[in-house]
Symmetry: C2
Subunit: 136 residues, 2 copies
DNA sequence: CTTCTAGTTTATAATAATTCTAAACTATAA
DNA sequence: TTATAGTTTAGAATTATTATAAACTAGAAG
């Protein structure tokens, strides 16, 4: 609501027209205090809550794809059956709670690696992510 | 072929009847030199290669599920669209080649962590896995 | 401001991976 | 040998996702 200008600029600067639907979704995603880990299904439910103007599921898919390509969100691998996305686009690690199936961010500097294998010849390390699985 | 007895015992000891199909699949999976990272699709192709007796796709799915439940293979997360499985059930790490989309094992002791965050209250660390993404 | 058009949204169809169903088959206990 | 619970199978159903194509709209150009 407040930073609508900023949202519109963010979209424009990545070549995305600030349509009603994209602005609505961007506000939901980026005007949060905490990192949001979500699937298209959960995002769609939030966006289409009672009272709000309806946005089609296809548009939610399209927008998530567009935001991912633009680097505003990133895809993460946690579930075998659904794609998950993350509003935290910095390199970081995760706790994955096996009971609740929920992800929590771990700051990059909260993990230190003192030994890492050499990448195979001709290949470079693009990034390194740690997933810590939790149980009760 | 050679260790058919061992395969049969492995199945029996986990409460699985050693049917023709399960033994065939188990031989393909467990009589290998190297770790095998696979999808149901690739496994099904191998199992149903020319000449061999046909096993239905449903059975390949059923068997992979049964072997996973029994702990003979484990599921891993690399692809957003397909389930991947691993014949290496020990805790270990992976290189993931973004170009070829191929996984390679990294021995557990090839990676050393000198700093790991505390798990949240009431939760224990079940395991910790590192994925190193590679690029050219 | 009006017009024009490429970009976007949308309902719906199509696809792909996986799971379900129920009938036929089989390993094995008795 | 028989009985039965477990297993296999073809095909249908389901679920997530992508494709299609017609209607709509942001915003550039006049
Ligand atoms: Mn979710
Ligand atoms: Mn594969
Ligand atoms: Zn995150
Ligand atoms: Zn592996």
């Amino acid at each position: 609501m407040k930073q609508k200008k900023a949202i519109v600029n963010k979209l424009r600067s990545s070549g995305l027209r600030p349509t009603k639907q994209r602005v609505l979704i961007a506000q939901n995603l980026f005007e949060r205090d905490k990192t949001f880990h979500f699937t298209v299904e959960t995002l769609n439910k939030e966006i289409n809550k009672k009272g709000s103007e309806k946005v089609s599921l296809a548009t939610v898919y399209n927008t998530v794809e567009a935001f991912t390509k633009a680097g505003h969100i990133k895809q993460i691998l946690t579930s075998k059956s659904k794609s998950y996305f993350d509003t935290n686009i910095k390199s970081h690690h995760h706790f994955y709670d096996e009971d609740s199936k929920e992800l929590t961010d771990i700051n990059y500097n909260q993990v230190k690696l003192s030994k890492v294998p050499q990448p195979p010849k001709g290949k470079k390390i693009k990034n390194l992510e740690v997933v810590i699985r939790l149980q009760k």
